[in-house]
């Protein structure tokens, strides 16, 4: 269904760094055009307009869910939102938030010196553990072009196509030397969802997998390559789990 401008846009944020929201504000040259087609209904980082019960056409969600009050807010948000789009690694896989090991209460007590006991928090969960998610924009942070593209396509009644190939393919197209081969660097390009145009490997920096894992990823082969490059089991685990993947 094609939406008629001005479309009502809201952006709710849970446990995260604000980076996904910031990436939209970082599309400076497109903000004026965006302002013509989008009416901000709820986006506290950018605007003082807060609409309590307004119907929302597109609701963007950043961050993972870690407290019961966040969960309540998420459920309420889902009820008033026509299309819900999960944005960024935290919303999609719980992101780096989920790396806290062991008993959460113990970690709370340690970091907040004895004050952690009465905080009602649970291990970070991705948004789709609780509500239906209509669209997904991966990345930590997401690529700015992808954010605009997604909003634009939604406006026209479609949904931006999902990438199916890994970052590795983009690297080939860009004719980059393979970092895994050349430097024996722990590059996650072979199993990571493309769409960033191999941003980091283009610069000689190994992919850290921030866009999540591609379908039908050959994890076994990658682990074998990492072992051959001299990484230990634990180092491989740490590398893979940063954005939600486990061996």
């Amino acid at each position: 269904m094609k939406l008629k401008p001005p479309i009502n846009l809201a952006w709710i944020r849970f446990t995260s760094c604000s980076g996904c929201q910031l990436m939209l504000l970082n599309c400076e040259s497109s903000l004026a055009e965006l302002a013509r087609i989008v009416a901000i209904r709820d986006f506290p980082l950018a605007s003082s307009t807060l609409a309590k019960n307004a119907e929302i056409d597109i609701g963007l969600v950043e961050g993972s869910i870690t407290t019961s009050s966040e969960l309540e807010r998420l459920l309420a948000f889902r009820r008033k939102v026509h299309l819900l789009v999960a944005v960024g690694a935290c919303a999609l896989t719980a992101g780096v938030n989920s790396l806290v090991r062991g008993e959460r209460r113990q970690a709370m007590t340690k970091v907040y010196a004895g004050q952690g006991d009465n905080w009602n928090t649970f291990p970070p969960q991705p948004v789709d553990h609780f509500v239906k998610v209509d669209g997904r924009i991966p990345g930590c942070p997401p690529e700015p072009g992808e954010l605009l593209n997604s909003i634009g396509t939604l406006l026209n009644g479609g949904w931006a196509g999902h990438q199916v190939m890994p970052v590795c393919m983009e690297c080939r197209v860009n004719e980059n030397p393979c970092l895994l081969e050349r430097d024996r660097a722990p590059c996650l390009g072979p199993i990571t969802l493309a769409g960033c145009n191999a941003r980091c490997p283009n610069l000689g920096v190994p992919c850290e997998g921030c866009r999540g894992v591609v379908a039908e990823a050959n994890r076994d082969e990658l682990c074998r390559l990492f072992l051959a490059a001299g990484l230990t089991d634990q180092e491989i685990n740490h590398r893979l789990e940063r954005f939600g993947e486990t061996t």
Binding site: S18, L50, R104, Y112, E208
Partner: protein
């Protein structure tokens, strides 16, 4: 007794709220609550290899991601006694300054300018084709372009790596930056005028809190060895005694209440303490109270543009065959502390690493955690005689906004009462 709640605070980075308690119509007590959910970064890096830490901790906050990454790298490099190549230091400083430029421009034009123009947000100003709003966004974009070229990515930069940097940007890109820089150097003195008008800000009382900054005279303290709080300087490793950081039951940001405090950190503190960074305007900043922080940021943008010019020149002349990173043969254990000036003030990272290179303990002190205490006191002082409820809420929010708080950064929280979903800018509750 009447309770006014500003919740959520808008046009600030992160989730927070202000509670104003009125007794017989006058302000009696103020609570500034930083309500980010716990993310436990100081716990999640424990047990991981030292060189993984910078990639993780930069995710504390998007706006300050460069500052977090660089400060953690400095602390760990100090710990392992590694000296980074000069060219890497230049690129890192350029990245940090690009971050300052984008952060200050974001604060002044996206978050403060709507207050000065009486609009709910910047988008309204853009629709009106307000030239100042358009120029401000372009300046912010310039800061971002610097970050992207020097860091590889606008948010969560990838170029700084343990021991130095991964790459040096193409000469062409650096030339492009130099060219655009000249444009901004020429027009900034005019662009910043709007932020210098006293009539644009609410009436304010003197600033509360002892100014605190890294103890370097000129450049941003990329290798901050000491902390300067006016009376004297102490080594940055003694930060814990100086700040006396501890958790509070009612806020997620750890509080800082050392003997010499409470402290004020940020652009205004830097302008007060560091001789080379005095306000560039002939202006009695005191009369602006805490809103003088906006002036100080405007002044810093001018300074930053100058410094960026020097760094770009150094990069143009750099020998591109020199190594970009120092290598470490074997990890060794120890304790490392580093202090940096992040856009919104003093940022401290502190790590303990064991002999196998695994992190044993971590402590991170953010500028907003340091400023948290003075915020409430400042609201009390500025609004002592205000009786109008709407104005109380509005000005309290503007005072918090003036600190340019970064609540995501202040990583620590309280139990959220369910009022957070009510979404009212000024909610009255009589008890």
């Amino acid at each position: 007794m009447t309770r006014l709640v500003v919740d959520p605070l808008t046009r600030v980075e992160g989730h927070g709220r202000v509670e104003l308690l009125l007794k017989e119509g006058r302000l009696h007590d103020v609570k500034v609550r930083l309500l980010e959910s716990p993310r436990l970064f100081e716990s999640l890096v424990v047990g991981r290899r030292y060189d993984e830490v910078p990639d993780l901790v930069c995710r504390i906050c998007a706006i300050c991601s460069a500052a977090h990454k660089l400060t953690s790298l400095q602390a760990l490099e100090k710990l392992m006694a590694i000296r980074i190549p000069t060219i890497a230091a230049v690129l890192r400083e350029l990245l940090l300054l690009g971050g300052h430029l984008q952060s200050h421009a974001l604060h002044l034009f996206c978050l403060i300018l709507p207050d000065l123009c009486g609009t709910p947000d910047l988008l309204v100003l853009l629709q009106r084709k307000e030239p100042l709003a358009e120029a401000g966004l372009k300046l912010k974009a310039f800061g971002n372009r610097i970050q992207e070229i020097a860091g590889g990515r606008v948010v969560h930069p990838v170029n700084p790596v343990f021991g130095g940097v991964a790459y040096i940007p193409d000469k062409q890109l650096i030339d492009g930056l130099s060219e655009e820089l000249r444009h901004w150097q020429a027009c900034w003195p005019d662009l910043c005028q709007q932020f210098l008008q006293l009539s644009n800000y609410p009436e304010a009382s003197p600033v509360i809190g002892n100014p605190l900054a890294t103890g370097l005279q000129e450049a941003f303290a990329l290798n901050g060895e000491s902390l300067d709080y006016g009376e004297e300087q102490v080594d940055s490793s003694e930060y814990a005694q100086l700040l006396g950081e501890h958790s509070r039951a009612d806020s997620h940001a750890k509080d800082s209440n050392g003997q010499a405090g409470p402290f004020l950190t940020g652009a205004l503190a830097r302008a007060t303490l560091v001789a080379g960074r005095k306000l560039r305007f002939d202006m009695p900043a005191e009369t602006f109270g805490i809103h003088g922080n906006n002036l100080a940021q405007a002044s810093e943008i001018g300074w930053t543009l100058l410094r960026i010019g020097q760094l770009l020149e150094t990069l143009r002349q750099a020998d591109r065959s020199e190594p970009l990173r120092a290598t470490l043969k074997q990890a060794n254990g120890g304790v490392g502390t580093a202090a940096t000036e992040a856009p919104r003030g003093l940022l401290i990272h502190h790590y303990v690493v064991d002999e196998w290179g695994k992190v044993v303990a971590a402590d991170i002190v953010t500028p907003t955690a340091i400023n948290q205490r003075v915020m409430a006191a400042q609201i009390m002082a500025d609004l002592a005689n205000e009786k109008d409820h709407e104005r109380l809420c509005k000005v309290a929010e503007r005072i918090v906004r003036a600190y340019d708080p970064c609540i995501s950064c202040a990583v620590h929280l309280v139990k959220v009462e369910n009022s957070s979903e009510k979404g009212l800018t000024c909610q009255k509750r009589s008890k």
